[in-house]
Amino acid sequence: MQIDDVEDVEIRLLLEGVQRIYGYDFRDYADASIKRRLNHWLAESGFDTFSQAQSQLLRDRSVFESLLRGITVNVTEMFRDPTFFRAVREQVVPFLKTYPFVKIWHAGCATGEEAYSMAILLNEEGMAGRYRMYATDINEAVLQKAGEGVMPITEMQRFTRNYQKSGGRASFADYYTARYDRAILSPALKKHIVFAPHNLATDGEFGEMNLVLCRNVMIYFKPALKERCLRLFDSSLLPGGFLCLGLKESLERRKMGERYEELAAPLRIYRKRYG
């Protein structure tokens, strides 16, 4: 037997244990990525093997929390994929504007950059005060950061470039204050965003959404869990509502796809059909 097989078994047992003790279910995450992340965590944790880590992991919540931080991938940016945000501005917002008030769900929002980007965009398009955003994630440490709205100043150059490419109408510098090495987002942007914990593997739907974004989250899931998420989004969305996925995720091979039309072809913006 190869060493690898032993490790696969250990990982399976570990995820099983985590699910039973802490209720977090990672068993349906795609193997290749989670294995990479777990190995990375193991190397930093000081344990030699997963079996060795297991005993403490199941007894000491702080060990589990470090594992949780290690497993979830929180990489994000403001106006990530500017062409996507441009399409939202030009093709989705005109529909949203026909409602007096809209509700938006960012599932897997990480440190909040995507939600803040959307707030900037909607405010610029004249929708200030006419929306509420629910930005959720499994990882409470990143939600805490999201709520603070503070970013490294070194990121601002890249974010500014993204913003401009996405069709931004103002100067990106208007949206933050520089303080030493940090950029503090304007508090006005936070006003209509609620950050809250939500686990896509186990928790339920959010009702009556006009727009759901879940970008670069389901790529880490196995097909069955992806299916679960898509059902969740579908039951959360109003007819005529929009579903936005990451640029490499698609409804093409999914049953759910029949209920949606693709709005901006390569940008993975879908609109739920009426009836």
Binding site: D4, D31, A32, S33, R36, Y220, L247, K248, S250
Partner: protein, 203 residues
Amino acid sequence: MARTFQAVVVGVSTGGVHALQKLLGGLPAAFPLPILIVQHIGADADGGLAKLLDERCPLRVKEADEQDEILPGTAYLAPPNYHLLVEREGFLSLSADPYVSFARPSVDVLFESAAAVFGPGLIGVVLTGANFDGSRGLKTIKNKGGVAIVQDPADAEAPQMPQAAIAATGVDYVVALDGIATLLQKLAARRNTIPHDEKGRDD
């Protein structure tokens, strides 16, 4: 030990467009193995490379989508800004994890995940490039009993990546770009049992 090769993984950077045209162009449409490729590419690239290669090569070439089934006679290019990985069930997956070896997509990520799935059935190929990505992954491929092919640094547009790979592990073949397609066909044709000690000999 019996061995049937199951897949080829390729890592390439600077000079990659030319090198891939040459390598893939030399393989027939009926090449029996899937080919998974990481070419370092800017985050904003638009999938044009896969289209170009598909037009010019007998093989089917496509940009990898999440959950693509890994099929023989097909070359999959990692999309810009995502790592490309192999799942045990014979599917591809993508990840938006941080850069690895200063790159996304990273050759190391592809090679390591493919080695875990294909073990001795994997052929790893490192081509021209001006960095070190791929050497750790190639070492993993060797550790799991796979075969390592490296483009001759003297023949490469940028020799660093091949040199780093050769320094990192015992490679089986160091070949000029021109010879790699032929070598791959030869290896892929040996689909029956091969004595383990024959490994590495170019017969």
